[in-house]
Symmetry: C2
Subunit: 218 residues, 2 copies
Amino acid sequence: MATEITKVRRHPERGSYDKEVLLDILKNGLVCQVAFQQNTLPFIIPMTYYNDSNYIYIHGSPVARISNTLRDGPTVAISVLELNGLVLAKGLADNSMNYRSAIIFGKPEELITEEEKMSFFKEWIDRLVPGRKESTALPNHDELKNVTVFRVKLDQFSVKIRKGGPSEVRNDPNIWSGVVPLSIRAHDPVFASDPRVPEYVKEFIERKNDEWKMNKKS
Amino acid sequence: MATEITKVRRHPERGSYDKEVLLDILKNGLVCQVAFQQNTLPFIIPMTYYNDSNYIYIHGSPVARISNTLRDGPTVAISVLELNGLVLAKGLADNSMNYRSAIIFGKPEELITEEEKMSFFKEWIDRLVPGRKESTALPNHDELKNVTVFRVKLDQFSVKIRKGGPSEVRNDPNIWSGVVPLSIRAHDPVFASDPRVPEYVKEFIERKNDEWKMNKKS
């Protein structure tokens, strides 16, 4: 539901508070941007994330600025952006981007036990690179101690989507307009310990490169 | 120079306060994330941007939440992220991303005159899609009135870069490790007013698709 803070004010027709849409945006993202207040000044930091249907999870070093700040439980704003295209309208002032944007607000809760942290790591990699979980060294006691994991409830959020062609105000038939679709491209591995690339890594690359085709349909 | 707010605390060896590096990160980016405080709560919003060597510029509707808030001149934090790869280390807790990240702090100043706003629009499109400026309808009086443009000085900032292979702690020769490079891919135009795609649009697509080769070298 739209609250005062999550309300989409500009182009409200592009806004939504639908949890299914939120989860669909979060599903393919690789990074989020976490904004919070530090000593009365805004701070922002890009982080990887994982989410299930109830929470978004971020993790970092216990000595990092964000860990120290988030432990105090301030409200954070987390942005996940999927950039889908550059919209070139006939009028320069009507140019835009096609995108799906999710913004989540909430107070971070720290995961305390080693079991919770281990579970986070396993689920994170299982979603990101299915098949990798069985082929990596799981974190040991010290590694789990040396990581902080926070979760924020997927409760207060808003999503905003722009898709389709240019919104034309100008009519000049001599001016070209259109949309240049943009997507993430994954390339063949580098710095590999072994030139024989595991199947699950090949599948990750293929899946990433196919995501934009799904977006086109939506 | 590193100040208390811009100081890179975690992995300081990855940090830099070099203006040339900042400008190089901003050069290819398409969107930034703007964080600010609204009624004691953090807010974050993705926006397109343009920058010259002194300022980063963002623009929006005068009725948008961000315009109303930024007009009061609060400090904002602006993040520009270039995602360059997924780093799969042997140890699950050592996974990382390759990236170049820039964070800029400052108080937004509003561009007031129509001349300033027109100049912003021309320079923005000229950098984004060289050749388009001569083939688009420039904003008229009403359009310039109906847009707010803010600039933030490139003065307080930090950049952070991770590149190269996995930082391995684990040694198991049976576990594969490596980096999956990621980049932005631009596709053939859709929703085009004319199937004959202008040369400058073809060049934009080609340039975007070649950027990752430059990153590989750096």
